[in-house]
Symmetry: C2
Subunit: 456 residues, 2 copies
Amino acid sequence: MSLDATLSQIDSDLPAALDRLMALLRIPSISTDPAYADKCQQAADWLVADLKSLGIAAETRETPGHPMVVGHVEGDGPHVLFYGHYDVQPVDPLTLWDRDPFDPQIEDTAKGKVIRGRGASDDKGQLMSFVEACRAWKSVHGTMPCRITFFFEGEEESGSPSLIPFLESNKDELKADLALICDTGLFESRVPSIITQLRGLLGEEITLTGPAKDLHSGMYGGAAANPITHLCRILGNLHDANGRIQVPHFYDDVPDLSDDIKEQWDALNFDHATFLGDVGLAKPAGEQNRSALEMIWSRPTAEVNGIIGGYTGDGFKTVLPSKVSAKVSFRLVGQQDPHKLREHFRDWVRAQLPEDVKADFHGHGASPASQMQTTHPAFEAARSVLVAEWGYDAAFTGCGGSIPVAGYFKKILGMDSMLVGWGKDDDQIHSPNEKYDVESFHKGIRSWARILDAIR
Amino acid sequence: MSLDATLSQIDSDLPAALDRLMALLRIPSISTDPAYADKCQQAADWLVADLKSLGIAAETRETPGHPMVVGHVEGDGPHVLFYGHYDVQPVDPLTLWDRDPFDPQIEDTAKGKVIRGRGASDDKGQLMSFVEACRAWKSVHGTMPCRITFFFEGEEESGSPSLIPFLESNKDELKADLALICDTGLFESRVPSIITQLRGLLGEEITLTGPAKDLHSGMYGGAAANPITHLCRILGNLHDANGRIQVPHFYDDVPDLSDDIKEQWDALNFDHATFLGDVGLAKPAGEQNRSALEMIWSRPTAEVNGIIGGYTGDGFKTVLPSKVSAKVSFRLVGQQDPHKLREHFRDWVRAQLPEDVKADFHGHGASPASQMQTTHPAFEAARSVLVAEWGYDAAFTGCGGSIPVAGYFKKILGMDSMLVGWGKDDDQIHSPNEKYDVESFHKGIRSWARILDAIR
């Protein structure tokens, strides 16, 4: 049977595929809120039933948190593992939604039809794009295109606490030749994008303490060390005037971009004016000798994510505060070691403290960057077929965010990952009025059929 | 009649004077909380009745807020106005009090007898120390020592919103030769202290805005301007490495200390190690070529009183925030003009902003420093008599805080003020378990009798 038959089947089955997605979207599987634990279980059960309807041996698997869904189906050719997550972000503030986030609907908009509802884009719509491709394939061929393991997580939006132990306990069962991950988007909402590098993440919380208690700034102001002033001085030194991070050894393991990748990225003609203009900005703020794409994809960052200290209510209070704290995160690239950098950062802070100010540190996660093995034949195979679906050559791109599961697959299972997805920049994931374009879903299903056809 | 007779009368009447103070302390006259408005009225009425019992023509006077108490009594010699305030600070957190803050009691402590209760030191005990001195004088002499205007405010702890209009509407009635203000303390809890300079205060709130909304630090980190980083950089530049404030023109109108005052302060042998050690600090933090007393009494300061921006809850969120704000206050000295400095500060901040970050400013009050006219004969007269009561030569000192009423008396009524008071460093004003030593009250009454005797 030809690929065309599968694509036709996908087209004709689209209304039913949308109905199935709607059913899954109606289950409020918010993983971070314990009140929704039974809804997470319900979403996992729904997926197991759906996989079973395709003849896949599927079951939910208990964890200390929400269940994993694991399914296996035999087939010829390579063994791939497909990963997606069925849990969703919380919906507050609910008042900013134009409709009930768990009563999804197809809406006509100026930009085309969209599926509106929490999880439509992140990640239920993306997850189902793969399942529907398998369904169409099975319907046309009677078999699956290759041996596939389905692996759906229910804690991605709440830090994946069960993921590492589950991978470690089920290494043999889950290891495949390649993982396919569908949790990313199209470049500039148009160009199919295969992620080849993901930044890592290091989180640190610093608390500086000066006086033992809050003081009156009239009585003590001038004589007593103010921890806010010192934290500002230190965090104000985090970057030099050219945007370069000043922590010693920070750039030790940061590679330069290969000429090959640099050429591909230059060819994307990234419109940083629109990218920044959409959020009220004009000028790329990072290292001044780098392109904007490098800044967000291949260069490390240091950001203050939050700061609080002293009196922050209405009006004014002339307090000289005892404490201040800040949350600082670093996006990591190349071979940067988050554990070493944590120590370098702490040493750098401590070295700048005056006698009367002490620092306490609290770590918040540390994951290295991931670099995909684009020499795996699936990467070129996927790239070569996606142009037919989207009308643009697919690009090997970076991703500024951190999708830790790819790193865990590599580290624990020794398995490479290929990340490809159909989200658009305006999907409002994690925000009110999340949506997924019907085009993303429909072409996404067709894209997976093309990729499976190419790599089998 | 001799002063001795008045002092003896004070000694023998102390139990009754304490009973009267207790009655006033039992009235919960919290000015900032509208729920206590009738209690403020009750405290004002209590004072009017007490003044009337001394033959003083007293009455409450309405304001848009809590009433003023004004009383007049004729006499020979100079005309003095005595100022105190009958309102008190809120008492929360109530759980940190060892007893009901409005059920005051005399307690025996290792350091002697104390009057425990809200307002004991700030300012009901201090206010009544003057009234009791007048009572004893009247009892012994049948007249008052001089012409006295009594002026008690009920909004001092809530920003004195009615004070300026009331002074302006009643200039002729309230103007005297000298104001006596009893709302300060003994130097190092021992040495009688006449305040000759008070720092002014300028409050500013800055809000920096970078992106139009909070961004995901994975998607935008590196390319988008982070307002927290920029506010930290700017506030971190507020002082140079020697503690000098870097805002241009900041020191233009800061006078050097006169040799006379410097000698007096040096003679106080201020124990900065204990002063700072009591709050967990060791090293005077201000301008490194100044003494600790200069830092808190005669040098201007810039302090960040509070800062907040981005994610400040539990755990971690990799947000790249849209906004951050800080409250910054300046203590002013000499002829520093708060309005000019506000503009210098804003210009200095704006000059450091990158293209993509904008600043909004909100002013929070601006009062210049006050310098007392110590050439007024009352200052030397008071200084010469206090040694007999306290065993230490009285000192002309500075005060790091801002007591705006003295400035208003000067500006609106053209009247100098002499600030003297009997509080101790451990009185815990504005805090749970506020107290006033019976010694402060008793010697305070005797001190006022001596001062009145000396200046009449």
